[in-house]
Symmetry: C2
Subunit: 521 residues, 2 copies
């Protein structure tokens, strides 16, 4: 079977395959244009008659659980990435599958990290056929070099929930590593020796997979509460020595940036939000875990404190800074999708107003609304932005697919999307003619903040109007590009093979772009 | 169309219709014998493109919401009963439907109460075709007299979740009265002027109905947290003056029984549990809200305190007594399905170990296990028990269908099911030859405790063995029946018409019994 077929030009002008990994896929039609007509995926009906009356679902090992779950060639095995680079379970799952001689599995992680480089040998020997999920680092490089048997498919957190809910991806066996669980399968991430905060990325897996295996290193008597994962969805529970390395859960940095340029970008971003009237009593924001984003959060906190007002909620990726704001009474709620440090974990465990959310509540585009569009301002990064305000977050300017897509696409639906980015990195302009890979359509990206000026999307006349007398260095996106090129020279487009190695899904399951093979490897 | 057809004898020897309310239904096959082969009901896929970006789903009135939800003749409208006899919304929904000239609706409440007597006129005029749901009081009497156009269908709380999940009942429009909600539709029962504790009975409705309307009298800024009902499932939000009367939420009594007979029954029950080794460190129990059940809980509390041990969890229907045990450190968790007084509401709001549960977690038989079978001992009532330990909880000995079925059937799966009942009521024996209506198969009912002795089901040799030297007045069920008849005389069976007016479902959706019309009315 061909890896992919039927190349067409989608509504964004990108050439994408309509067929890959054995299925048809709809090309991107534009924001809000694709209308689902079907029904949600319907899992088989279970019966209590098949489960132990005493609720004890433990089995001795991951391998035993896979055998009981009737693992077979060609199945889809899912996992979550709340342990990030500290995950110890996904590798063991495929070790066990390999020992059982299983072939052609599809791995469907919510994201993969450098710790999963171990799995390259199983991609090479056919245990794993391909990966659908964000590939941070080595596995992305492996895919970029054309070595994977199927196409990589990158979905946003919301897009992954949508794909499972809608039956685009059918999970045969979900493996959910859990810092604490009971023998019935109730599981939580907010406590236990490997506490990682929450388990929201595994919610869809628990609800829709045929078989669900919970793996824990901290078995407690029923009930394990909170039950972020309901035992009522769980088939087997496995107890192991250690599910994850808590220190490696940390994402990004917990250090405010010290770079003068980054600090300037952060300050300009906060000032822009203020000038645009966004920072007001009851406002809401989402910012990432990078040094610049952290600094913006601190500017917001200072504004709130000075004016004696408070934010209603912060959508997070939490770490010590939003936690401090919550504890200082500067915000009512943290609505958290993943904890980025151990302070985030502690706060979620201790503070009822530090709420664990999921891609279902926050990001699923095929729901009756979601939280993302209710956020007043979201601060996002990008590897590239182009003259149409389109942005790339997955490939480098050399074409390598090295970054996950996370909730980035979903967040674009906020009331104001701002990208604070350096004008160039390593003397490569970040504002360019056309992005290498299209991840976010320009119509949803409102403001680009660089150390040399701020560009507002011409569609946002309201923002242009509100900030025109602010004294902020407002420029056009073309001006920013010209300044970058005046310093770095005109960048050349990366030379890439025609072969497609990965597809980028939009939030509605359509294909927004294809990633090409990096040549000569 | 006939109300019902195809009478057959089921595995319990009861004659039941295989066809009613326009659908085929499987007769009861025995405990754990029916094996579902299909898939869960699959609701249509929604898209955020159809919902307001700012999350504001409010519409001006219940009538407007019904119009927007495209209400039509013959639809199924659901509601929950957490307000019990203080509900103010269900009547208004059918007032609006009547004003719109809609006919032949099926009302699918989780239970109905005397406050819903208002709806008899809509049953008379054809606005409502029939009711599927427990009918406490006037509506049950109405059905018993053969006046309803369709058959009443009684399902346990778990059976109702099962029926919705499995697509046996398709809800067109769910109306969820909520003491607090935000404009996005997130809703909670634990706060607000009409706080009723939780909203778990509406969970299935929110997940599976085509359209979901939240009605609240306490709209708060997003996010309404906790979100017992996810706004992501909600289509419209309506704000009204008052959703319910909190004082009428109270169920049963909050008074310990003063009857010497009832106190004796309570004491014997607690002593039996102790003799059987059930009351030990880490044990769990569920008891109702009647005076006898309350007294049993108090005996348990005293045993725990005296021995300096604690229970792991109480499954509830909570009120001030379990709450006091939680606050006194005599139990780790209350796993609560409905609050029976305002102390229960307060505790659920304030105490993270007072956990709100749902029929999905606790009772759904078509899940991968549920909580009910993990409970060490459950204390249940009955209107009648027969020589086969079969029990009735819905009809009186005169044949009138006056009581709901609640979680009663689901609770029978606990490790030990005890029914503390008086040997007779109003000089009518409670232990009889054969129950008028079969609600619970005798093989699941372990112990009958009366003021004149305790009968243990012969199937439970373990319990017989453990308690044989306890000094407790252990008798056979036949002895109990004989004693009752010696006092009251042999009771005559109620004279009932052949016409079937209601079907009783078992936890797996099969038909365990049919209720006959009370004649001459």
């Amino acid at each position: 079977m061909k890896k992919y077929d039927k190349l067409v030009t989608n509504a964004a002008g990108r050439v994408v395959p309509e067929f890959f990994n054995g299925k048809e896929h709809t090309p991107y039609l534009g924001v809000g244009k694709y209308r689902p007509t079907g029904r949600k995926y319907a899992p088989p009906i279970a019966t209590c008659a098949d489960y132990p009356n005493d609720g004890n679902k433990t089995v001795p090992s991951i391998k035993d659980a896979l055998i009981k779950a009737d693992i077979k060639d060609g199945m889809t095995i899912s996992s979550h990435h709340h342990f990030r680079n500290g995950d110890l379970i996904a590798n063991q799952v495929f070790d066990a599958a390999h020992e059982l001689g299983i072939k052609d599995l599809m791995w469907f992680p919510s994201a993969s990290f450098p710790c999963h480089e171990h799995l390259i040998k199983y991609l090479d020997d056919g245990t794993i056929h391909h990966i659908e999920g964000s590939m941070n680092g080595p596995l992305g490089k492996y895919a970029s070099e054309g070595k994977m048997s199927g196409l990589g498919v990158l979905r946003s957190h919301g897009g992954r929930y949508q794909a499972v809910q809608d039956g685009d991806v059918h999970i045969d066996i979900a493996v959910i590593a859990a810092p604490t669980a009971d023998a019935f399968g109730n599981a939580t991430g907010d406590r236990g020796p490997a506490a990682c905060g929450l388990l929201g990325f595994a919610l869809a897996d628990s609800q829709y997979a045929d078989k669900v295996i919970v793996v824990t290193d901290n078995l407690v008597p029923f009930p394990c509460y909170p039950w972020q994962i309901h035992g009522n969805y769980v088939d087997y529970v496995v107890v192991v020595d250690q599910v994850g390395i808590p220190e490696k859960i940390i994402s990004g940095t917990t250090q405010i940036t010290k770079s003068p340029d980054r600090l300037l970008i952060a300050e300009l971003t906060a000032q822009f939000c203020d000038a645009a009237g966004i920072v007001r009593d009851g406002f809401s924001y989402q910012a990432g875990a990078g040094g610049t984003a952290l600094s913006i959060g601190i500017y917001f906190a200072e504004m709130l404190k000075k004016r004696n007002i408070k934010a209603r909620f912060i959508r997070a990726g939490s770490n010590l800074y939003p936690v401090k704001m919550l504890e200082d009474g500067l915000v009512d709620y943290i609505l958290d999708g993943q904890t980025f440090d151990l302070e985030g974990v502690r706060s979620m465990r201790e503070n009822p107003n530090h709420v664990n959310t999921s891609p279902f509540t926050s990001y699923n585009y095929h729901g009756k609304g979601n939280f993302a569009s209710l956020v007043d301002v979201v601060i996002l990064g990008a590897t590239e932005v182009d003259l149409g305000f389109n942005a790339n977050v997955v490939t480098h300017s050399d074409g390598y697919l090295l970054h996950g897509i996370g909730g980035w696409q979903n967040c674009l639906f906020s009331k104001c999307t701002i990208m604070p980015i350096p004008l160039f990195r390593d003397r490569m302009p970040v504002v360019i003619d056309e992005v290498t890979t299209l991840c976010g359509p320009g119509e949803l990206i409102d403001v680009i903040v660089t150390e040399r000026g701020i560009a507002i999307n011409p569609l946002r006349e309201d923002l242009i109007d509100k900030t025109k007398n602010s004294g902020l260095p407002i420029k056009t996106i073309e001006q920013l590009k010209d300044e970058a090129e005046a310093i770095c020279g005109k960048p050349s487009k990366p030379e890439l093979d025609d072969e497609v190695i990965a597809a980028i899904k939009w939030v509605d399951g359509t294909v927004i772009d294809a990633v090409k093979k990096v040549p000569g490897k």
